[in-house]
Point group: C2
Chain length 506, copies 2
Amino acid sequence: MGPSEALEKLHLIDRENRRLERAVAVLRWDQETYLPEKGVPERSEQLALLEGIAHERLTSPETGRLLSELGSTPENPGGDEKLPPLERDFLKILRRVYERAVLLPRDFVSAAALAEGLSQAAWISARRDNNFSAFLPHLVKMIDFSRRRAIYWGYTEKPYDGLLDIYEPGMGADEVNAVFNPLGRRLSELFKKIAVCPRPDSSFLDQDFNVEDQARFSRELMRRLGFDSLRGRLDVSAHPFTTTLGCDDVRITTRYLGRQIQSGIFSTIHEVGHAFYEMDFPAELRGTCLADGASMGIHESQSRFWENVVGRSRSFWEGMFPVLRSYFPAALSRFTADDFYRAINLVEPSLIRIEADEVSYSLHIILRFELERELFSGRLDPADLPAAWRNKMKELLGVEPESDSQGVLQDVHWSMGAFGYFPSYALGNLYGLQFWGKLKSDIPGAEELIAQGNFAPIRSWLRDTIYVRGRRLEPPVLLEAVTGKGLSAEPFLAYIESKYSGVYGI
Amino acid sequence: MGPSEALEKLHLIDRENRRLERAVAVLRWDQETYLPEKGVPERSEQLALLEGIAHERLTSPETGRLLSELGSTPENPGGDEKLPPLERDFLKILRRVYERAVLLPRDFVSAAALAEGLSQAAWISARRDNNFSAFLPHLVKMIDFSRRRAIYWGYTEKPYDGLLDIYEPGMGADEVNAVFNPLGRRLSELFKKIAVCPRPDSSFLDQDFNVEDQARFSRELMRRLGFDSLRGRLDVSAHPFTTTLGCDDVRITTRYLGRQIQSGIFSTIHEVGHAFYEMDFPAELRGTCLADGASMGIHESQSRFWENVVGRSRSFWEGMFPVLRSYFPAALSRFTADDFYRAINLVEPSLIRIEADEVSYSLHIILRFELERELFSGRLDPADLPAAWRNKMKELLGVEPESDSQGVLQDVHWSMGAFGYFPSYALGNLYGLQFWGKLKSDIPGAEELIAQGNFAPIRSWLRDTIYVRGRRLEPPVLLEAVTGKGLSAEPFLAYIESKYSGVYGI
């Protein structure tokens, strides 16, 4: 078999893998949006079967043989140096995906999947009943499965680095710590300064906002941001998410509260940011394993950029507040864009990560990162997690949860074994502001464009500098290619300090 | 391997096949309801892949070996006579499904699937442009693929019988003809008598009926009929359908016209009838190939029974019209249940099958059956189909379409090669009334129950006599088991003649 024939076969395997992934995404999307209550157990069986088939096909000896034939090895994943760069990147990523799958014994994968299902169910009841000890045995198992997974992948010394690498390739705990350390310190300082300032009035956000009108406004917002509804949808789910069912079928969900209008608005903008990334990969990557985000952190940089840098800016609401007010004249007619801007940027210590403001959000992440590190280094016993959580909350945010439901049990991630995921959120904040710096130097009038509701030049810039590369570059390389710099918390901190000094008149 | 081990393996293969079928159903349901416009081509690729995988698994040599090991052969599909009756029925149906798949060469299956896709697209344009000759080459191919399919299955002499057998096992063209012949004659006679009677007033059905109120009423109707919304859903699609995504996830769709309120109502009731069948298979058949309708005709007997015998009866609207009127007081306050009953039972010659009343509906089917028979016997050249259609319409219904779009191009079935499907609809009418005769003798007060809105005893009867058997019995055997009689048009004709003599005062 010649190299071109082998490449063609690998591309077919890859395209079919993607199609199976998309089919799985359809079933999952439906599960979160429209599945009738009693259909859940059968849906799990359908998903387990499809995922089993996908795993079997991906790890077939043929995939390994074709990769080797093209010179791709674990040490030289890109294969033969005479291949075009795009094909070398394709081999590199496919090798990575293949290795990750093939290094895990089949029995281990089934056992982990089963244990995750039970653990998530146990977490739901434990959170409801505020009963950490009922969840503890599952948590211990999840840590163990994660550690073994990392060890199978070769992270024998530092298993936690293997977990971080799933979500943020090329980034170990030490690198993360090196940026989180100063980030935490500076955010804490600002947070303390704000705590003694007078609070902006945000009480008018807590009125009755008709949910159907909120949904109509969300659709208008999506349209104005440039979301192409021939290539995607907006639906409602308990936890907002973005999912890719096809290159031309990217769906987002949001949720509306009967009061607190900002919840639905910012969920929608956040998910639109994820969707733009997924929708705007270049045609040459379409349907391949390269049509994907560079990492979870880079993905979050897009969602959090649109949500916060664009969506929580004064410029944005200069243009958009009159539109919002036209949907809710009774509730909002007495207020201005500036009132709204100040209200949605209220900073206050919150027990719950997903309700946190921009200043304290990263502190919630740092807390989780530090606890995960201690769990995997063996310095922290899982049984002592609730106490450790309370201490760190006190230290970082000055508040302490009264219950574990409001504390260590609040997030789903650990119950499904997703250790190493949390840092992506805070890294996303940092990447996002590094990109924004470069964007503003390339498009000096970016803020006026936002005020005019003209978002297309910003999206184009993101597409041409970031999305165009798909998953070809690892985050540090991508960051360097786009901004010419390495990872730094400075742009994010400068943005936060300047913005919130303004809001709070510090 | 002992027989019990072989059986267990076959059951696993079967269960996984069903799960794959359900996953395919999720993707198809989504395609008809919520898929963004530009997602269609990728969805086709996803479906082709999943269906290819399902076909490959079903036709694996292991399936054949296990069937043989249990004594199942094409001549003795039920296998070893010492097996329990349920297992013998399981083997019989799995052997049938396996044979149907394995006898078709893989290349033939792909070529046919591809041609069907192109043919359906060509049909859509041809119908839109009223251009039969643009569709003709595709139609010729569809006939050819269907004929070859039947020949692969062994129907060398009478390929059309092989096609009928897909939808109505155990029923050939001669058997169908023997009941359609007197049916057509008697319906035509009645139709001519009605044509000279004064028309009931149905003009009040043609008012503005708010679509959202129609949707709310459809949900109320479903609930009152007994549809469990924890085990299913109602959505909207261009063409109403029922689909099974799991034993506990049976979904129906309907459509609402801004005027003509009866359209959405009767689509909903029709699909509820299909859904009851799919929801009410007994636990012992759950997840197996036996948890299915006995045939398309038996399935239509359920939908058309609920739609017509129940839903278009005077008793039904005695109870339900006040409810309907409460949703549309302005439009309906001046009318009575009896006015409504007469209006929805208006009989008039229609060019379009799906708009036809109960009297003329079967005539539309007989026309299609006779044309299909002639096409497959070679007596009719596909090029002459438009003229043959017009002649038969004139002969059977006394009207002639002005365009092929309103004539030979109106239905999707032929464009996808579904020859032999149409008779199911008319057979469903006949089965339904045979069942109704037995039901009324078992539950003498059935009509009062309908008037009281108490549908549970009727549904229970259907469950305990028909649904309980799943796909275990072929239609003639099922009919005999339930009613003690063979197929007959008499009960249907007696019902139609009596009902419409009443409506028209003949």
